[in-house]
Amino acid sequence: MFQIEPFRHSDFLAILKWKQGERTALTTFHPGPSRLHVLFDMPPAGDFDHEKQRPLTPTEHIKMFGRRLQAAWGNRVAFVDATFLDDERHKEGFVQHPLTELLERARLAGALACPAVSLSHSDEYRRAVRRFIEWNSDFPICVRVESNHLDAPTFQADLKSVLTELRCEPSRCFLVLDFKALTLPTDDFLEEFVEMLADQIAELPFVHSWMGLERDVFRSIRFGIHKSGGF
């Protein structure tokens, strides 16, 4: 059975690169009161692979994902962002979109990978996410929002539009506000940032419906800023 649990304010989301070091670290992770969720950023193929002692081809990079995910994270939910695989080089040799390939290969290996999608992903990528939603009605997805999305005057409309296009209820989505790298050099900056963020969250569409934004959201925000810059 796959493990899917609702997000709690004390939970922590780690955004990790799909690298051997990160995967090894996950295998040694011991769950505590703050549970860990993971979102993997898939790099493009071509980096040196320590297991094979050579760079992987795009096909190998995708095919080995399922087994490696299972080894590192078992059957817990792992979100996957395959932005860098959304190109012709990685599509070659596959009938389906590379994202779909990753998700299905994880399932075959007994792991549970769910897609992460942002407001900047291509139409084709979004279609792959939509297929996942249609075929897997019980599994969540991750909607990733970056600071430049939040700064866009059309942000609210853009977010609603993505959900409509994906035919996905907010209650199935973990909403991740991903600020990438932040600098809050003084208390004044920190205070201003928290206020802005609180305002932004208060105005979020479906604010009470997201799977990953519970009522006690502000503790999550503070937690996120101090610990990681994301939450």
Binding site: S147, N148, D151, K180, A181
Partner: protein
């Protein structure tokens, strides 16, 4: 100055155009369209100031034409031509009628007046005065006839020419091609040449009235020499083609759009010129720490001087817009004397704060900026994306973050995308 009925009518119609523009100026609508209130306010201010200028010219002409002026006092010999024009207007004589009285062509009088009679010989001036039934009551007073007085008659009082940065001026070749009065003969010292240079460019040594914003020590004489050089360059630019009146309405949005191009700064000179502003570049003088200045040439043509002291895109755009802010907002509040600015120096007075606010909000309205998360990022791609969505240069966004956080190590590659000095040099605007 208005010298004839035709110019009077043109000026009146120009003033009507400004009045109509002010009547139709919809501040709230513009703010709703997303233009920052600071920019909207500055645009209104600019319109009002230009209207005021035109109305002052009209009033002066009407006052003269009414014949209420009986006595005219030239302040120097070169001022006599101006007074002859005023006398003609005061007597209700057209240029054509005066020409008829003298048996000359109207165009000749027009030409003389255009040149303020500076090219007419003394005999001709006497004839004009006679035709206008003017009595001349004048006297000369002797003064120390030093070389300095001859080469720089308008630099008086406590001006000490030896304090000018003579070595640097000489090094830059400024003292090589100075046109001296005919009566000055014999070899001149570098001090005299430097004084002549300043005198010819500026007209007077109004150092004490300049508005200086500087965080570090500045040398007034170096600043004056730099100002003189900028004025000389501006004069060359002015005479090469007649400039239109300053019209700032559309210029800001065009500048913002140019900022997205790496070669945008090259186009700025022409764009500003088309809107009645002369932009010149001159390296700052040692011990001035100057980034830019805004001034009025001949009391009417806005001039911006930039030093490119920091060879960075963000500095270029911010300083340019800061100086443009002075032109928009402070025409009546010190532009004649000039604003001299060191970027990053604390803004100690309201005028500087206004110009800062103008520059910042021209690119990204303050209201938008205050609510933008990009202010807290250290991710380069977030800055680029934000700039792209706002239609401005990423260097400007990066520069604003650096200024706000006072961290000059951030996004260096974005603010240093190109060498401005090389770019301007290739366009012939910058001398190394």
């Amino acid at each position: 100055m208005i010298t004839n009925e035709r110019q009077y009518k043109i000026t009146k119609s120009e003033a009507d155009r400004f009045k109509s523009a002010l009547r139709n100026f919809r501040e709230i609508e513009l703010v709703r369209q997303g233009i920052d209130p600071v920019i909207v306010g500055a645009q209104r201010n600019s319109l009002e100031q230009q209207l005021k200028d035109l109305e002052a010219q009209i009033l002066e002409y009407e006052k003269l034409r009414s014949g209420r002026v009986k006595r005219l006092f030239p302040s120097s010999i070169s001022d006599i031509g101006q007074k002859l024009i005023e006398a003609r207007i005061a007597q209700g004589l057209s240029q054509r009628l005066l020409a008829e009285r003298l048996g000359m062509k109207e165009q000749q009088i027009q030409r003389y007046e255009q040149e303020r009679y500076l090219t007419a010989n003394l005999m001709r001036v006497a004839e004009i005065a006679e035709a206008l039934q003017l009595d001349l009551i004048a006297f000369f007073e002797s003064r120390n006839d030093t070389i300095l007085n001859k080469v720089a008659p308008n630099l008086r009082g406590d001006f000490d020419a030896s304090k000018l940065p003579i070595k640097e001026m000489k090094k830059r070749g400024w003292l090589s091609h100075i046109r001296l009065p005919e009566r000055v003969t014999g070899p001149l010292s570098d001090v005299d040449l430097a004084a002549a240079f300043v005198s010819q460019a500026i007209g007077s040594n109004s150092m004490h009235r300049q508005h200086i914003r500087a965080g570090s020590m500045h040398d007034e004489y170096s600043l004056l020499a730099w100002k003189a050089r900028v004025f000389l360059k501006a004069k060359l630019s002015e005479t090469s083609n007649k400039l239109p009146n300053f019209s700032g309405q559309a210029v800001v949005s065009k500048l913002v759009s140019l900022s997205t191009r790496l070669d945008g700064p090259k186009e700025v000179v022409g764009l500003l010129r088309d809107h009645g502003v002369i932009l010149v570049f001159e390296r700052h003088m040692p011990s001035t720490h100057l980034d830019g200045a805004a001034m009025l040439l001949n009391g009417e043509i806005p001039v911006i001087g930039l030093t490119l002291r920091h060879d960075r895109l963000d500095n270029f755009w911010f300083t340019l817009l800061h100086e443009l802010g002075h032109i928009f907002c402070h025409r009546d509040q010190g532009l004649r004397e000039g604003f001299f600015d060191e970027e990053g120096a604390p803004s100690l007075n309201e005028l500087e704060s206004q110009a800062d606010e103008f520059a910042e909000s021209a690119f990204i309205p303050n209201e938008v900026w205050r609510k933008s998360f990009v202010r807290f990022t250290t991710a380069r791609e977030q800055v680029i994306q934000f700039a792209k969505e706002r239609g401005v240069s990423s260097a400007i966004v990066a520069g604003r973050i650096r200024r706000e956080r006072k961290d000059w190590t951030l996004f260096s590659d974005l603010v240093d995308q190109t060498s401005l000095r090389k770019l301007m040099s290739s366009a012939g605007y910058w001398e190394d």
